[in-house]
């Protein structure tokens, strides 16, 4: 009986594997719901319920990446389906436990209505020079592939996570990190008179946890502080044309566009 059970289990496992393989093979090349108004409406609901918190109602990215340009960047319906179905390893995007295949297709059909029709013109700059500019001006605060500072967000995926227009806006005009993003600026003075600048990592009524500009993480009891201020905007300086020429900005963008979180070999 034991042998028979084992044999049946083996068969069952093989059947499961075959089904999975077949399912993968059966994946349509295109989205069966593209342009289907009813499906797009359902997809809108599913997107807003399940995706918008991270990617934004307009899909231009909040904590998660801007996903309006994924088709223009060369991703396919089938590839995007697999990204949603399997999640993205090492990120907050986990596989949706209960999503049916048709629900994922409907979300993608809706997302397609928000997508930019064509890829933004690739930067004409010199990425190698852009990498040097990044090293001189940005890497003190931003990490790329495990090298660089920690005060600002990791930019290893920035080329696929944010549009060119958003990057230009952040460099030229500055940004406003969300108060709960982990990058909102803070300035405090301890009772001993020590001034601290950094970003807020966490906070409650009685304490605040800070990454100081030197990169040290430290917590402070609020009743032990002489002053606590939360300046508007970001610790990141604004790089106007006086600090960064248009040509250098173009080179920097060319470099940032090479920083992509996903393997371009994936369809």
């Amino acid at each position: 009986m034991a042998n028979r059970t084992r044999a049946l289990l083996t068969l069952a496992c093989l059947a499961c594997a075959a089904t999975g393989w077949l399912a993968a093979q059966d994946l349509p090349d295109g989205n069966p719901y593209t342009g289907d108004a009813e499906a797009i409406r359902t997809g809108m609901g599913l997107y807003r319920l399940n995706c918008a918190d991270c990617h934004g109602v307009d899909a231009t990215g909040v904590r998660g990446p801007d996903i309006t340009g994924v088709w223009a960047a060369g991703r396919t319906d089938a590839g995007l389906f697999q990204t949603v179905r399997n999640g993205v390893a090492g990120t907050e995007m986990i596989p949706p436990r209960r999503a049916r295949d048709d629900e994922i297709w409907k979300i993608l059909a809706y997302l397609r209505t928000l997508a930019t029709p064509t890829a933004a013109a690739a930067s004409t700059g010199d990425a190698a020079n852009g990498a040097e500019i990044f090293g001189q001006n940005c890497s003190g605060c931003h990490r790329v592939n495990a090298a660089g500072g920690r005060l600002g967000p990791d930019l290893s995926r920035i080329g696929s996570a944010r549009s060119r227009a958003t990057l230009i806006s952040h460099v030229r005009e500055g940004s406003r990190p969300r108060s709960n993003s982990g990058y909102a600026p803070v300035a405090l003075t301890t009772d001993e008179g020590r001034a601290v600048r950094g970003v807020t990592k966490n906070e409650d009524m009685f304490s605040i946890q800070v990454m100081e500009v030197e990169g040290r993480i430290q917590g402070y009891a609020k009743d032990g502080l002489e002053a606590l201020e939360k300046p508007d905007g970001s610790l990141m300086p604004v790089f106007g044309p006086d600090r960064l020429s248009d040509a250098d900005l173009e080179d920097l963008l060319a470099y940032l566009e090479t920083l992509r979180g996903f393997d371009p070999a994936v369809p």
């Binding site: 359902t42 609901g45 807003r48 319920l49 918008a52 109602v57 209960r98 906070e203 409650d204 009524m205």
Partner: protein
């Protein structure tokens, strides 16, 4: 010789009336009279969800005071070892704690040591679709049994000394979107319970079951059927999938023999065009005859709700002075942002005033209906409305101090862009017809919480204690002048209930999400017990 002595004693004891009673299930059975008595000055018990049938959550105990509360010390911590969190009120009797946990779990715990006596776990179906966490709000107790609603929409009776299942009644089929998370209410030999699933197109109801046998005594559908008064407040067949769930414990007035329950939102939550009309009895309070479940009166807080403003807040009963007259009232801070004092005999609105910032209605008119402001119907483009979908307050229990005549509530100040679209109903599937996007980091829009002390006769705010963010903690007040609460960042807090001054705090590591502290006496010492996250921690003054 020693064993013979013990055996002899046992033999002799078996014949005594006291032990005959014990053989029926522990030292004494919980009686209706005891529950009606509520929280007693000896601190010996907490027998029902709200401490007493009026849900006042106000303890007469005075050992812990504003002067000494800062000396509270932890006595023990119990860990559930579950993935989800507590959302419960613990019951206490004869030095034992009875607590329900997430994912259909429960325990009996030695209040002296925090050690488990028995545990209960009911298997969760893998295809369960509960909207808002695998939670449970607590036991009811009567006789020698505990009663627990389960996530798969059953009501189980457990033997109090062993935790073994005595009977198991099916409320509804969970596959159709029904669930149950409510703490049942034991009333005069019956166990009253409701169903969740307002986001899954259910048709809500309140049931009563015979406490001894589990046989259903009555059912009140929260959406009237064809031919019944109120069915015409739902266009077409929308009444069949209209939600109106019941997931927060009601109150009971023994004098009238009436129970009072808040009813959930109509479904689909945000898209109202498919269910034109007032949608009775969604977003209402209903007063039901406890003997047969017949409707005595109802009041609808939010006719034709399109913002997911369930009226599933905990009603509090009290007798208060209004305009020189003592009125029997039910007090209700509603998710829609208005605080209400109603006459609990007639349902008449005695007072209705906003207790948080609202922009959807100017006031509650003389006819009891909100006077609406235009532009707050959700649509595909989005419409901005305050409060947000979680509401001015929600399911976390408020409290009432009858000596001060003050109502305490954890209020939320938050706004949201509401979206809506037409959605096809599929049995067992989520059926909300919309979604919301909370407004953050906009200096013109509020986003914070506050514990507010209100005069229920006038609606006047007596004081407030502000939190950085909206709190989801329930409350406990004591006759010594304390209010226990928590913030969303995990701090357990004690405030002076007369001034709102902060007196003591402890970082629990998890918020008191929907849980309330309880208090009781154990071996001469007042204890405060608080569920937070997966922990249950007892506090007392040092010996």
């Amino acid at each position: 010789m020693r064993w013979m002595t013990a055996a002899t004693c046992l033999f002799l004891a078996i014949g005594t009336p006291a032990d005959a009673r014990a053989a029926q299930g522990g030292p004494g059975r919980v009686t209706q009279a005891e529950i009606e008595e509520g929280l007693t000055p000896d601190g010996s018990r907490w027998l029902t969800f709200g401490g007493d049938y009026g849900n006042q959550r106000h303890s007469p105990l005075t050992q812990i005071t504003p002067d000494n509360v800062a000396r509270l010390a932890p006595q023990w911590t119990f860990q559930t070892n579950t993935l989800d969190d507590f959302e419960t009120t613990t019951l206490y009797r004869d030095n034992i704690l009875y607590v329900t946990g997430p994912s259909n779990t429960a325990w009996a715990i030695d209040a002296r040591s925090g050690r488990e006596i028995w545990s209960y776990a009911r298997e969760l179906p893998t295809d369960l679709r509960a909207c808002c966490g695998l939670v449970n709000k607590g036991f009811a107790m009567l006789g020698d049994k505990l009663y627990m609603a389960t996530l798969d929409a059953h009501l189980v009776a457990l033997d109090m000394p062993t935790g073994e299942v005595v009977w198991d009644a099916t409320l509804a089929e969970y596959q159709s979107g029904y669930a149950s998370t409510i703490a049942p209410l034991a009333v005069d030999g019956k166990i009253v319970v409701g169903v969740a699933g307002g986001e899954f197109g259910i048709r809500g109801f309140i049931d009563a079951y015979d406490a001894e046998t589990g046989e259903r005594a009555w059912r009140f559908y929260t959406i009237p059927g064809p031919g019944e008064p109120g069915n015409d407040t739902w266009s077409g067949d929308s009444w069949m999938t209209g939600g109106a769930s019941v997931w927060v414990t009601g109150a009971y007035d023994p004098e009238q023999n009436v129970v009072f329950y808040g009813i959930g939102n109509p479904g689909p939550d945000y898209y109202g065009d498919s269910r034109l009309g007032d949608n009775l009895y969604s977003a209402s309070i209903v007063a039901l005859d406890a003997a047969n479940g017949e409707l005595v009166w109802h009041y609808q807080f939010t006719p034709h709700d399109v913002h997911d403003w369930d009226a599933t807040q905990v009603p509090i009963l009290a007798d208060i002075e209004i305009g020189g007259r003592t009125r029997q009232v039910v007090m209700f801070a509603n998710r829609n942002g208005f605080y209400y004092t109603l006459d609990r005999v007639t349902g008449e609105v005695l007072l209705a005033s906003p207790f948080v910032f609202t922009n959807w209605a100017t006031e509650i008119g003389a006819d009891g209906r909100p006077v609406l402001l235009p532009g707050h119907e959700p649509n595909e483009e989005g419409s901005l409305t305050c409060p947000d979908l979680a509401g001015g307050t929600n399911f976390w229990p408020p409290s009432y101090d009858p000596a001060q005549g003050v109502y305490f509530v954890n209020a939320r100040e938050s706004c949201m862009i509401y979206y809506a679209w037409d959605q096809e109903y599929i049995e067992g599937e989520r059926f909300t017809g919309g979604a919301g996007e909370r407004i953050r980091d906009d200096p013109t829009m509020p986003l914070y919480g506050a514990l507010r002390a209100l005069d229920p006769a006038t609606g006047e705010r007596l004081w407030e204690f502000r939190y950085m963010n909206p709190s989801t903690s329930g409350l406990l007040t004591t006759a010594s002048g304390l209010v226990f609460t928590g913030d969303i960042e995990g701090n357990f807090l004690a405030l002076d209930s007369r001034s709102g001054d902060l007196l003591w705090r402890y970082q629990m590591g998890s918020p008191l999400h929907g849980t309330s502290a309880i208090t009781y006496m154990l071996d001469g010492r007042q204890h405060v017990l608080v569920p937070a996250g997966t922990n249950l921690t007892a506090w007392a003054l040092p010996e």
